[in-house]
């Protein structure tokens, strides 16, 4: 018996051009993302990764192509609104994401929008903060947090929506190794479908199973490219030498 799996996110022939520009950021892009896939994306700046994420969330409307999320086609704002709460997008700049005065307000913003009572939203926010080990930040003023704290709070505010899919847009940008490790630890305990953009290869391989790249507005699967980096030691390795 053959089991046909439907992808949680399917993009078919998506093209997108920013208004006032002629260059196609996304050009007939196809992507199938299945449940529990953990995929990393590593590609040069300006190759359309962020646009891809915003297209999945319905924040950028493609010029042509078809988007299916959880097996259903989505194209209107109302349809996107229904699926948005199940897909968590973490923005590149945490300051964009944390707009409430205090941390607990921010984490509870999503649950409140989902219709939870203030009491339940507060409980959920506290649980998430505790799970990420930042319970002490609860009453903190958002704009006074450090870069790493902001990133963790932004992740908490996304996780509070209990998303089935997590889209992370350069989650490690500007973070030190300690916070990166903490992030890896957290992300590896989550049972979600994961699509991560990052420029840090070690980080990507420690949280994902496959690494894709993007070129000319299309995704290059890992059998087409193999980004890799390795270290080894050998005699006279400290002198300039060639690998043939």
């Amino acid at each position: 018996m053959k089991i046909v799996k439907t992808p949680v996110i399917r993009l078919e022939k998506i093209s997108f051009t920013y208004p006032g520009s002629t260059a196609k950021v996304l050009d007939c892009l196809d992507l199938d993302l299945y449940a529990r896939d953990r995929i990393g994306m590593m590609a040069p700046n300006g190759s359309g990764k962020t646009t891809l994420f915003h297209t999945i969330m319905g924040l950028c409307r493609p010029d042509s192509g078809r988007i299916e999320i959880f097996g259903r086609p989505v194209s209107t704002e109302v349809e996107f609104q229904k699926v948005r709460s199940k897909i968590g997008l973490m923005f590149q700049d945490a300051d964009d994401q944390l707009f409430c005065p205090t941390v607990v307000d921010d984490v509870a913003f999503g649950p409140l929008n989902l219709g939870l009572t203030p009491k339940n939203a507060l409980k959920k926010a506290r649980d998430i903060l505790a799970a990420l080990g930042i319970a002490d930040l609860e009453p903190a003023i958002t704009h006074r947090l450090s870069g790493g704290q902001k990133r963790l709070v932004a992740l908490a505010s996304v996780l509070a929506m209990e998303p089935r899919v997590l889209l992370l847009d350069e989650p490690t940008a500007g973070l030190d190794d300690k916070v990166k490790e903490r992030l890896v630890e957290i992300l590896n305990t989550l049972d979600v479908t994961l699509l991560v953009i990052a420029h840090d290869f070690n980080f990507l391989t420690s949280i994902t199973d496959r690494v894709f790249s993007m070129e000319n507005g299309r995704i290059l699967l890992d059998d087409e490219v193999s980004v890799h980096q390795h270290e080894h030691m050998h005699k006279l390795g400290n002198r300039p030498h060639k690998h043939v």
Binding site: H54, M57, L59, Q81, R84, S85, I87, G88, L89, F91, D93, D95, D96, Q97, L98, F99, C100, P101, T102, V104, D105, A108, F109, G110, L112, N113, L114, P118, A121, L122, I141, T142, H143, S157, V158, M161
Partner: protein, 251 residues
Amino acid sequence: MIDEQLALGDSFIHRLSPGVRVVAALVVSFSLALSNDFYVLGLYFILALILIGLASLPPGAVFKRLKPMFLFVLMIWVILPFTFKGEAFAHLGPFTATRPGLELCLRISIKSVSILLVFIALLATMTVAALGQALHRLKVPNKLVFLLLMTYRYIAVIHGEYTRLVRAARFRGFVPGTNLHSYKTYAYIAGMLFVRASLRAQRVHKAMLCRGFNGRFYTLESPVENRLNPYFMAVIAGLTLALIVMEILGK
């Protein structure tokens, strides 16, 4: 950027519910602004000082916050007495100070300083976040409350962007002077700030959409329980009423 130093204390005033403090500040400052009798104004001033005392604020910090107001009041003292018509009080060279002009100046000074003191004692002693929640609970329209909270949240970010731009200009040898080049540079920086603020607003809106924002705002209710709330409100209301009666009888 915005220091909330005064909000950190733990005095009698700090422990009162923010909502009660907002209403009290509103009541006192309104009736104060509408009073004219010097004795009544003096009593309001003493009330303002008592409130400052109850909030146990350091006098230095309070004075620092009053400074901009003093400049404004000083300007009035320089202009008003000499331009107001009425009985002459004193001559200063070619200028004549009038008695009604001086009285008006004194009134404006007492009123503005007292109102500011009341606001420092009652409102500056809470965080902007608490103020936003209090206004929300007092049924101030959501849009206004969130305008306040968003401004508070992002003014530091925009200030950070401004300092980054100025620093970038300085690193490339920019020295501000009185010339067209300097004006142009500042105009570019200001323009850039607007562009960045507007782009950021779009990104923030997108982030809000991603978390299920549908045009309605909800807040976490966490009223401050303090059995002294009603008593404080009653005392303030009683004192204000007494002062209003004094004002009316004094006429």
